[in-house]
C-alpha cells in the first residue's frame, strides 16, 4: 500500500481536533449537558452499528433499538446480581451477536421493504417480551438501581467521569469499526451493497457476509445498550420501541449512510440539535422537524456528503475518455 496521502494527514488532524474538543466540551458544564453529551456518544455507537449493516452492507434494519435492549437488559440483570460492568459486557455482546446472526437469516431470503418489515416485527417481538416477561425484565416497571462501573482509582459514579468512560469506549468502538471497514471484510460489505450477484461470482460468500453485517451491527447496538444501563440506571421496554429504532435510522441517514463519520454527525443532529433549539421554547420540535425534512430533501446523501458535493461543484474533475480520444485520432 502507498504511504499517507495529504487527504489522510488532513483527516488525522481533523480527528485529533475533534477528539480534543470532545475531551474539553463537558468541562464546566452542568450535569444535564454532560448527560446529553453522553447520550450522544452512546447513540453514536448504536448508529455506527446500523451504519455497518445498512450503510456499508446495504441491509435495511429497523431493529437496532432491540439490540440496545438486549445489551441493556443483560447488563442490568448481571450488574444487579453483583457482576462488575466489565464482566457483564461480554455476555451482553455475545448474546447480541448471536441474536443478530439469527436475525440475519431472513435477509438471505428477503430484501428491501420486506426485510424492513421482518426487522420491524422483530423489534416489536423484543418489546413484547420485555413488557410481558416481568419475572425477568420487571415488565412495564422495568429495572432500576444498576450501579455504574467502579475501577478502584477511577469511579464513574459522577456524570463527568462516566462521560469520559463512555468517550473511551466510543473511541475503541470507532477504531474497531474503522479496522473492519478498511479490511477486506469492509470491501466485501460494500460489494454486497453494490452488486451482490457480481460479488458472489468473485468468490465472496454473500450469505456469510450478510449474516456478519447483521451480527456485527447488532454487537454495536448491544454495546450502546450496555452503556445506557449505567447512564440512566433505569430501563424499561418503552425506551427500546420501534420509535427508537427509527431515531437511530434517522441518525444514519441524516449523517450519511455508508460514511464512517456519518453516525457522529447524525447522532449529534438527532440528540443535540433539539437541546440547542430549546431556547425557542414551544417551537423547538417544529423547527427541529422542519430542519430534518429540509436536510433529507436537499442532502439525501447525508450531511457528510455535503462536502463531497461542494467539492465536486467547486473543483470538478476532468477525466479524459481515452477510448474516444483514440477513436478521434487524438492520441
Amino acid at each position: 500500500m502507498r504511504g499517507l496521502s495529504v487527504r489522510d494527514v488532513w483527516r488525522s488532524v481533523a480527528i485529533a481536533l475533534l477528539l480534543v474538543a470532545a475531551i474539553l466540551l463537558p468541562i464546566g458544564q452542568k450535569n444535564y449537558i454532560i448527560y446529553v453529551l453522553t447520550s450522544w456518544l452512546i447513540f453514536t455507537i448504536a448508529a455506527m452499528g446500523l451504519n455497518l449493516t445498512l450503510g456499508y452492507a446495504g441491509q435495511i434494519s429497523l431493529a437496532q433499538a432491540s439490540f440496545m435492549a438486549i445489551g441493556a437488559y443483560v447488563t442490568a440483570l448481571l450488574t444487579l446480581a453483583g457482576w462488575h460492568w466489565l464482566a457483564a459486557l461480554p455476555p451482553a455482546l455475545i448474546i447480541s451477536f448471536v441474536v443478530g446472526l439469527i436475525l440475519g437469516y431472513p435477509a438471505l431470503r428477503v430484501k428491501g421493504h420486506f426485510l424492513a418489515f421482518v426487522t420491524l416485527a422483530f423489534n416489536t417481538l423484543v418489546f413484547l417480551v420485555l413488557r410481558n416477561e416481568d419475572w425477568l425484565t420487571g415488565g412495564t416497571y422495568g429495572l432500576s438501581g444498576m450501579p455504574r462501573p467502579d475501577f478502584g482509582l477511577f469511579s464513574t459514579d459522577k456524570h463527568l467521569p462516566f462521560y469520559y468512560f463512555t468517550l473511551g469506549i466510543t473511541v475503541i468502538a470507532a477504531l474497531a469499526l474503522w479496522g473492519i471497514v478498511r479490511s477486506p471484510w469492509g470491501r466485501a460489505f460494500k460489494a454486497l451493497r453494490e452488486n451482490p450477484v457480481r460479488a458472489e461470482s468473485l468468490g465472496v460468500d454473500t450469505r456469510r457476509v450478510t449474516l456478519l453485517a447483521f451480527a456485527i451491527g447488532s454487537v454495536y447496538g448491544g454495546l450502546a445498550g450496555a452503556l445506557i444501563t449505567p447512564l440512566v440506571q433505569f430501563i424499561e421496554p418503552g425506551s427500546f420501541g420501534l420509535a427508537h429504532s427509527l431515531r437511530i435510522l434517522l441518525m444514519v441517514v441524516v449523517g450519511g449512510a455508508g460514511y464512517f463519520f456519518g453516525p457522529f454527525i447524525g447522532a449529534a443532529v438527532v440528540i443535540l440539535l433539539p437541546e440547542v433549539l430549546r431556547f425557542t421554547e414551544g417551537y423547538y420540535l417544529i423547527i427541529y422537524s422542519a430542519l430534518v425534512i429540509v436536510m433529507l430533501v436537499f442532502v439525501p446523501s447525508g450531511l457528510i456528503g455535503v462536502w463531497g458535493r461542494l467539492k465536486a461543484k467547486v473543483w470538478p474533475k476532468q477525466q479524459v475518455r481515452t477510448d474516444m480520444a483514440e477513436g478521434a485520432g487524438l492520441q
Binding site: 477486506p184 468473485l202 460468500d205
Partner: protein
C-alpha cells in the same frame, strides 16, 4: 489431448413445453478459446446459465477440471477456478478501480480471520496494479468504477474475472455496446491474456467479427442443439450455419 477444463454432457433444459437446450455435449480444453454462437432463441444463454449453475439442468452434467459442479453456488465455482464476465455492466460503481480488482482476488487469499486482521489490501495491491496495467487502465486506478465509460467498465469487469487466476473464464457478450476502438483493444488484451496464461475461454457473442477473430473453435447452436462445430473458417463456410442465421 489433456483432460478437458470444461466438460458438458447431454445437457437438457426445458421451460414448460419449450426445449431450450437439447442434449448438448462438448469439451473445452486448456488454452482453447471457444465461441458459442447461434441465432436469437438458440439456447446459448440457457446453456451458459446451466454451466454457471444459475439454472439447474433437467438432465446432464457439467464438470470443471473433472469435478461436477452440480448444485454449486457461484462463489464456490469461483474458488474452483471459474471466472466470468456479465452481459450488463457489472462493476462496483462506488468503489475505486483498484478496490474492484483487489476485491476480485481477496477471497482467494488467507482465511476469514486473516482477512479481518491482516493488511487492508490483503497484500494484493501490486498484483492488482499489474492487472490494471495489463488492461491499460493505470490512469484510472483511483477513479470510481462507476465514473468510467461503458467500454472502460467492461475492461474492469474482465480484469476482475482474471484477477484470481482462473483456469476457465466465461465471457457473456463481451462486445455488447462497446465502441469499435475499445473493442479492438479489448480483443487484443483477451488474446494476449490467453497467450500469456493459457487460460481457457468460453465466449457467447453476437458480434461475428469479434468471435471469428478471437476464437480458436466455434460451436453453433440452433433450436437448442449443436448444428455445427469447427474452426472459424469452417463455420464461415458451413451451409447449415448460414441457413440457420438466414432462416433458410
Amino acid at each position: 489431448m489433456s483432460d478437458p477444463v470444461l466438460s458438458i454432457r447431454n445437457i437438457e433444459k426445458s421451460f414448460g413445453g419449450i426445449r431450450a437446450v437439447r442434449g448438448v455435449s462438448f469439451d473445452v480444453h486448456k488454452g482453447e478459446v471457444l465461441g458459442l454462437i447461434g441465432p436469437n432463441g438458440s439456447g446459448k444463454s440457457t446453456l451458459f446459465n446451466c454451466i454457471l449453475g444459475q439454472l439447474a439442468p433437467d438432465a446432464g452434467e457439467v464438470s470443471v477440471n473433472g469435478r461436477s459442479v452440480a448444485g454449486m453456488r457461484a462463489s464456490q465455482m469461483n474458488r474452483l477456478g471459474v471466472g466470468r464476465t456479465f452481459q450488463q455492466l457489472s462493476v462496483f460503481p462506488k468503489m475505486s478501480v483498484l478496490d474492484n480488482i483487489i476485491l476480485a482476488g481477496q477471497e482467494h487469499h488467507g482465511t476469514m480471520l486473516s482477512r479481518l486482521f491482516g493488511a487492508p489490501d490483503a497484500g494484493l495491491t501490486g498484483e492488482a496494479e499489474r492487472m490494471i496495467a495489463f488492461f491499460r487502465l493505470t490512469h484510472l486506478r483511483d477513479e470510481l468504477a462507476g465514473s468510467l465509460s461503458y467500454g472502460q467498465q467492461k475492461l474492469v469487469d474482465a480484469a476482475m474475472a482474471f484477477m484470481a487466476g482462473p483456469s476457465l473464464v466465461l465471457l457473456d457478450e463481451p462486445a455488447g455496446g462497446v465502441n469499435l476502438t475499445m473493442l479492438s483493444h479489448f480483443k487484443e488484451r483477451l488474446s494476449a491474456y490467453n497467450a500469456e496464461h493459457g487460460t481457457t475461454f468460453v465466449v457467447i457473442e453476437h458480434n461475428m467479427e469479434f468471435v471469428m477473430s478471437l476464437c480458436t473453435r466455434i460451436i453453433v447452436l440452433a433450436e437448442g442443439a449443436v448444428i455445427a462445430e469447427g474452426s472459424p473458417d469452417e463455420i464461415r463456410a458451413n451451409q447449415t450455419v448460414i441457413d440457420a442465421y438466414l432462416g433458410g
